[in-house]
């Protein structure tokens, strides 16, 4: 930290150097009296030092929310949403995934989480007027091999799913070129991936969506039951990295999570459950998530033309801007589609 950059008198700067204070953090995390003792400066000098350090850390004063509403403060809120690709599901999410936080999608195996994630990897590539972010996606697989044949199938049927977009635009997009796939089998390689390769792609503007499929896999198997303190630390460190990436590059982060059975249904810490499963990784992870979505696979099936699909339900468990609500959906060849009211009547039991 170059103390000369701050507007301080040479006497204060010299005292700070002598006390071996290296960065703004050292100054702000020590109490005023301790600073006086370390530097030998008087109270008013120490106040000046703290104020200068704080200003270096926070160059912008508080902003009236009206400026955000008018779109004049891109730094704080862009109001962008990443569309899921289906108008019914977008309506549930009031536009799509928010751009500046971690969204979690949990559900049982076979519920359709990976399907929705793949669909998002394609919808992010559309321009902003069609709900995309004009950029690619990074897909980090921690358990199964990436379903590349399914991705190809989704790409070929995009014009069927996205009937709102002109076909010439769809044919011009090179979808598979912009989905970057990473396989990480353990925590260490996941950390390396998130701290080196992903920031490079984000900084270049090549990607604007980060998908981790799934978070539970690595944290559930690598730790014994007695290591829960270590596991929590690693989990917090991981989520801290995700948040940092999300905020620095204004990128939505989607984390796919597994579920765990709920034995004691009177344990309603996290609210009423619509089924007998709840997202894995417990309270520590739940505290880090901004939007929690759940995908359920139901008993009924729904038919359309010559295709059949098990009925799914996408639900909002909690979000700062969404009500607890859900929409029925089905997984077709072209992707995940929410069912409109009229289609719901075609459901067979």
């Amino acid at each position: 930290m170059d103390w000369h950059q701050l507007d301080l008198s040479p006497r204060i700067t010299a005292a700070v150097r002598r006390a071996k204070l290296k960065c703004v953090q050292d100054v702000l995390c020590v109490s005023g009296l301790d600073l006086q003792r370390l530097t030998g400066l008087s109270r008013s000098d120490v106040q000046q030092l703290i104020t200068a350090a704080a200003t270096a850390c926070r160059p912008h004063p508080p902003v009236p929310a009206l400026l955000l509403h008018r779109g004049e403060c891109r730094r704080l809120e862009s109001g962008l949403r990443l569309s899921v690709g289906c108008p019914v599901l977008d309506e549930l999410l009031r536009g799509g995934l928010p751009v500046g936080g971690v969204t979690e999608l949990s559900g049982e195996s076979g519920a359709g989480k990976t399907q929705l994630a793949l669909q998002l990897c394609l919808s992010v590539q559309y321009p902003t007027q069609h709900g995309g972010l004009n950029s690619g996606a990074v897909y980090i697989c921690t358990e199964d091999v990436f379903p590349s044949s399914r991705l190809q199938q989704l790409i070929s049927d995009q014009s069927c799913l996205r009937s709102d977009v002109p076909p010439t635009l769809i044919s011009r997009l090179q979808f598979s070129d912009h989905v970057y796939i990473e396989h990480t089998a353990d925590l260490e390689s996941l950390q390396v991936c998130l701290s080196r390769r992903v920031p490079l792609l984000l900084a270049r503007g090549a990607v604007r969506l980060l998908v981790v499929d799934s978070v539970a896999a690595l944290f559930r198997c690598e730790f014994q039951a007695s290591d829960w303190l270590e596991r929590t630390k690693q989990l917090l460190s991981f989520s801290s990295t995700l948040h940092h990436l999300s905020q620095e590059f204004n990128t939505p982060v989607l984390c796919i999570n597994q579920v765990t059975d709920v034995f004691n249904s009177s344990d309603d810490t996290l609210g009423p459950l619509s089924s007998n499963v709840s997202p894995a990784l417990g309270l520590a992870w739940a505290n880090q998530v901004m939007v929690r979505l759940m995908m359920r696979r139901l008993q009924e099936t729904v038919a359309r033309g010559n295709q059949r699909s098990a009925l799914r339900r996408l639900e909002v468990v909690f979000a700062p801007h969404l009500a607890r609500d859900g929409r029925d959906a089905a997984v077709w060849r072209e992707g995940v589609r929410g069912l409109t009211g009229s289609e719901c009547t075609d459901v067979q039991h």
Binding site: H69, H243, P272, A284
Partner: protein, 360 residues
């Protein structure tokens, strides 16, 4: 009569004062700065600072002269009733449990599991603090420090619109109708100042700079920090440092609340504590943090219902109320259709509760 070594001066100055023979503050009384600088071989500005510190300390201790005269409890009560009004929310049950609304001049902590409604209550209060005084509100501005990124404008606009609609339905006389002209969604948003902090260093820096901002904006009556736990629970290897920083933070917030006459609302997360084989859900950030806020609100689920429990408050009984989160914001459960009329409290000898007109 305080020893010089207990004053908040730099150590070298204190050493020089003591070696020159000034051991107590009474020795320094009646001296001019020039005399002091000669006798104790200090520079002029240092001597001036010493005398100012002594004057401030002595004035505070002995209660003689200066701004810090002592108050009687009755004067304090009258001051509270006139100046420090409570922030009425749109939930009458919560207002009743808190004795009239969220008290200004105190720190309030809201803890709860994710998704129970802490951010919703904070956003609701951000609108409630701006309700004009002819409707019983405080008519102030607010500062929102967001550490989680959960301040989403879509939701803020929803709550502000519902608040404006609620008040316009209540407007009965001319004074209120005139006030409604300046109580619109746009003005509500313009009176909300947003700050985003991504880690604890930024939060500490922001709180150091906030008193300057508050002096420039004297109408601020509410500070919301959502949430303190999010930034302080990560990456902390040294728990004793964390406790020390949290204590400093708490002291700063309490000082700001009293000096600038505003309510400080802090959001906290929940964590599990193992005690004798049983696991219990407790507020995060440790035991010593629990002493910092004056009032603690715990939001939790009981089956499908949301409940708010006041479990620490010096002025009110521990009670639990039920609430719901609707598209309009934080409201009473079983809300009836007709909005309740809220008249401002006038200073009389009658207890405040009997002044309020409720119809439902």
């Amino acid at each position: 009569m305080r020893p010089v070594s207990s004053l908040s001066l730099s150590p070298s100055v204190k050493v020089r004062l003591v070696s020159a023979g000034f051991r107590f503050t009474s020795d320094l009384r009646g001296l001019k700065p020039l005399q002091l600088s000669k006798e104790a071989s200090l520079s002029q500005p240092e001597a001036l600072e010493v005398l100012q510190t002594v004057r401030r300390v002595v004035g505070g201790d002995e209660g003689g002269g200066g701004a810090s005269a002592s108050l009687t409890a009755l004067e304090l009560l009258q001051k509270e009733e006139e100046e420090l009004r409570s922030i009425v929310t749109f939930s009458s049950q919560l207002d009743a449990a808190l004795g009239g609304g969220l008290p200004v001049g105190k720190t309030i902590e809201i803890c709860g599991a994710p998704g129970v409604g802490k951010t919703q209550l904070c956003l609701q209060l951000a609108v409630d603090v701006q309700v004009p005084s002819c409707f019983g509100g405080v008519g102030g501005q607010m500062v929102y420090i967001d550490t989680e990124g959960s301040f989403l404008l879509q939701r803020v606009v929803d709550i502000a619109t519902a608040g404006v609609r609620h008040c316009s339905l209540l407007a009965e006389d001319d004074e209120q109708r005139v006030a409604m002209e300046t109580f619109t969604v746009e003005t509500i948003l313009s009176n909300m100042f947003l700050v985003r902090c991504h880690d604890y260093v930024e939060l500490l820096a922001e709180l150091h700079l906030l008193p300057g901002f508050l002096s420039a904006h004297p109408r601020v009556r509410l500070l919301v920090i959502d949430s303190v736990a999010f930034v302080f629970r990560r990456l902390f290897d040294d728990l004793s440092q964390r406790t020390r920083l949290l204590n400093d933070l708490a002291q700063q917030l309490i000082a700001m609340a009293t000096r600038h006459k505003m309510a400080v609302v802090i959001t906290n997360q929940m964590t599990t504590r193992l005690r004798g084989g049983q696991s219990q859900l407790v507020p995060a950030l440790g035991e010593s943090w629990g002493h910092a806020p004056a009032i603690r609100l715990l939001l939790h689920w009981v089956g499908p219902q949301r409940m708010a429990a006041i479990f620490k408050s010096p002025a009110h009984m521990d009670s639990t109320i039920q609430y719901q989160i609707t598209s309009e914001g934080f409201r009473d459960a079983n809300q009836c259709e007709q909005p309740q009329s809220k008249r401002p409290r006038r200073h009389t000898n009658q207890p405040a509760a009997s002044q309020r007109v409720t119809s439902c």
